[in-house]
Symmetry: C3
Subunit: 338 residues, 3 copies
């Protein structure tokens, strides 16, 4: 029986290597459904409460699709205005009520710690879909899952990984969560490239340091991109009190095919949590990289569905019976060719 059955998924701090490997094993089993080679109705009749109190397209839809692909239904709430919260309702009450309607809840909220508070009132498992600058554990898991898959091509494993994290390392919560997860592995070389004002917070640096990993810190990409993985990020303008300060950093560290050719290894894998800011003044990851087979950003999105399917299956305790509810897919799908 899984340790995740009936549990909340709130923070990457919940995971150890063994539990991560278990999640990834289940995620692998989800691939045939995500690729529409088969379908499953194991969660037919179950309801996901998809609560997004902050704008999001990809994470919201990814959770919803993952649940649909297991056969379940999705009831969605988006925005703060349309919520009873605007009438003074506490998160506890909202949680108590929405959990009365749902079998599991995915939630995003702009305030750090809010999802954990919400979970205290919930009668069903809550999956944190991002709480402000704090945590985004499913993104961290899908990033790590992607790293493992991408390294397979070159016969490598996460142990011994050489990774460069670049851009807004202060506000980019995905970088914080990923750093914690990677710290559970052995012998990682972290290279951190950012403006000094957007450096990785000390609390995360301590985690890396305490786990005995190698750390290189720079505000220059020169010599720092020849890693196995380069993880680029967007300047999180919405987290800055001062938008003008954000603007002075947008566009500071760009990545494009020319820079890739000059500074990366021939098989350096490029990742990004998305969305990438494609406006001229930012453009931290140029579209001219789209043709580069080492650009893994869209495979990350695909992997996100697998990881979220795995977490739903685990928290609802159906991870071993998904294939008992299988049937054939009668419609044509372009996904088979991906």
């Amino acid at each position: 029986m899984s340790q995740f059955k009936g549990q909340h998924i709130l923070s990457v701090n919940q995971f150890d290597r063994q539990s991560i490997e278990h999640i990834f094993t289940i995620a692998d089993k989800m691939a045939p459904y995500a690729k529409r080679q088969k379908r499953t109705s194991v969660l037919e009749g179950a309801i996901l409460g998809n609560l997004f109190f902050e704008p999001s397209t990809r994470t919201r839809v990814s959770f919803g699709c993952a649940f649909n692909l297991l056969g379940g239904e999705v009831r969605e709430t988006t925005g703060m205005g349309s919520s009873a919260l605007s009438k003074g309702e506490s998160l506890f009450d909202t949680a108590r009520i929405i959990s009365s309607y749902s079998d599991v809840i995915a939630m995003r909220h702009p305030e750090a710690g809010s999802v954990a508070n919400f979970a205290k009132g919930s009668r069903v498992p809550v999956l944190n879909g991002g709480d402000g600058a704090n945590e985004h554990p499913t993104q961290a898991l899908l990033d790590l899952f992607t790293i493992e898959k991408e390294l397979l091509h070159s016969g490598n494993k996460i142990d011994g990984l050489d990774i460069t994290l670049m851009g807004d390392l202060k506000y980019g919560r995905t970088v914080h969560s990923l750093s914690k997860l990677l710290s559970l592995y052995n012998n990682i070389h972290f290279t951190l490239v950012s403006p000094k004002a957007l450096a990785l917070p000390d609390s995360i640096l301590s985690v890396i340091d305490n786990a005995g990993h190698k750390l290189t810190i720079s505000d220059d990409l020169q010599g720092n991109l020849n890693a196995d993985i380069v993880y680029q990020t967007r300047v999180q303008e919405e987290r800055f009190d001062n938008k003008e300060e954000a603007n002075q950093y947008r566009g500071r560290f760009r990545l494009n095919q020319k820079i890739y050719t000059e500074h990366c290894k021939s098989n350096t894998v490029i990742m990004h949590p998305l969305p990438r800011d494609s406006r001229a003044e930012a453009n931290e990851l140029d579209n001219d990289m789209n043709a580069n087979p080492n650009l893994a950003i869209f495979r990350q999105a695909d992997n996100g569905v697998l990881v979220r399917m795995a977490l739903f299956a685990l928290t609802l305790g159906v991870e071993n019976i998904v294939d008992k509810y299988e049937s054939q897919v009668p419609w044509y799908s372009t996904k088979h060719q991906d």
Copy 2:
């Protein structure tokens, strides 16, 4: 055959004791599905048009989940801005069109009478989910259903009930509708506690009076809370023309564990239509009551799903065949323990 098949549910005025008892009998049959002990797909392929032209989380999601739990799909519209109404479309036209897409419609709208107007254009049954300060019949039914269930613990029935309604009795439409339904029963003692300016409207007082029930009116909670049921309400600030006037009433009649101990019976049941306003200046029902087993507010929400499932089953004429489409629930649910 049910009197509700193919009918709109617009007002509590449609109901008599017999029809209410029939709805409650069907609601009881829905419990195993709501508790995830079994699932049913009786409405597989049916579509609910869930139209919320006014912000709502709990009522909207409750309708949606109730429909999903019967196996149906939900197509949702929220807000006025995203609607053709902003291009000058009449409610009649919207009704004609949306009813072309749906098998049944649930609707909330800020204007009194709008849902009944809408129903005139609809080709499928319309369930009123609240029209301004006018009606909210499904809330009234779930409140009454909850009262019946809560009284069972002490071996009592609705006939002979001693109930205190308190707070904003002027704008709180749930209080109006509930008063009308209770008036169908025998020998009720209504105690009304509110600021004079927020008193129950004369039209509702007449209904109570004409049915021969006992009425106590006060602007003081002293001596007025030792009832079987105390139904507390939120000051409906959104219905006030003058927000400052609303603010002077918020927090006027509070209920907390200390007041409960002093003024209520040992088994007085506390209800509230929710959301409760937990901000310090209002806080009409304190969180320190959450541990009190007589606080029924979350059971009200659970009962709302049962009552709405019953109304969908009845209006679509499937109330007697729900169990023919039953199957097992293969996933783990914390709801079994509730």
Copy 3:
């Protein structure tokens, strides 16, 4: 095998008479499901990404219901604000990601050409649900389908049709698309009635002219409404740079029962792409026409579901196996009586 399998539906320019007739044959096969005489689950497990970056009720819900009626699930995104586009994401990236989650996408966007751009990034078929003043191919198809059905009553066919298009012929994209489709047929008489400033664009006039059809242009309805079909439109105020200019045209060409009796044939069919603007200053199609059996506007909406079901079935390659996944409808439906 259909030419539409795996293809985008972006523009009416993709269609010839043969392909239109094929779509209509499939649309006819969808009627029993839309009328709830039977249900089908052929797309059970499939996901529609319903992306509406511009307000819409009817088109959005019509696409969603059409997909539900084939057994599929719908994941919806509405508005620009709730989207990663507001963080600078390109349409290409959004397409790449959302298509990773979906089996097919329906999309509306305020910018002309945006849906075609989006389709370049999509890995699944994209159906254009309207891109600004440019195209709205599914509306054009449902209009043409309706014309064919309505003419059947009088034993006529589209070849030889006498049609009057009136109102805002400049910004009304449905009129542009419908004119192109009708031009594929033989011997059509187009009568165009509009203020000179809102005339049909030259590019569309050329299409009609090059196909050798008869053309009458007027800014007066006198003598111009005795057609087989009168297609009335709303002044598209949201497309005008100058709202005051729009207002001077609203209400200029009205249609009501009095005008119908005076100017139309006894069996002239009235169509309108909806929504009709029922505010007094516009009211281009009066409610007193609702009782007229030749008012086809609500049948247009019904037909929209059939046409969209057909397009989903065709693009996903299930058009010939829909009935293999049939079952009985156990609930009561008023639609049988329509």
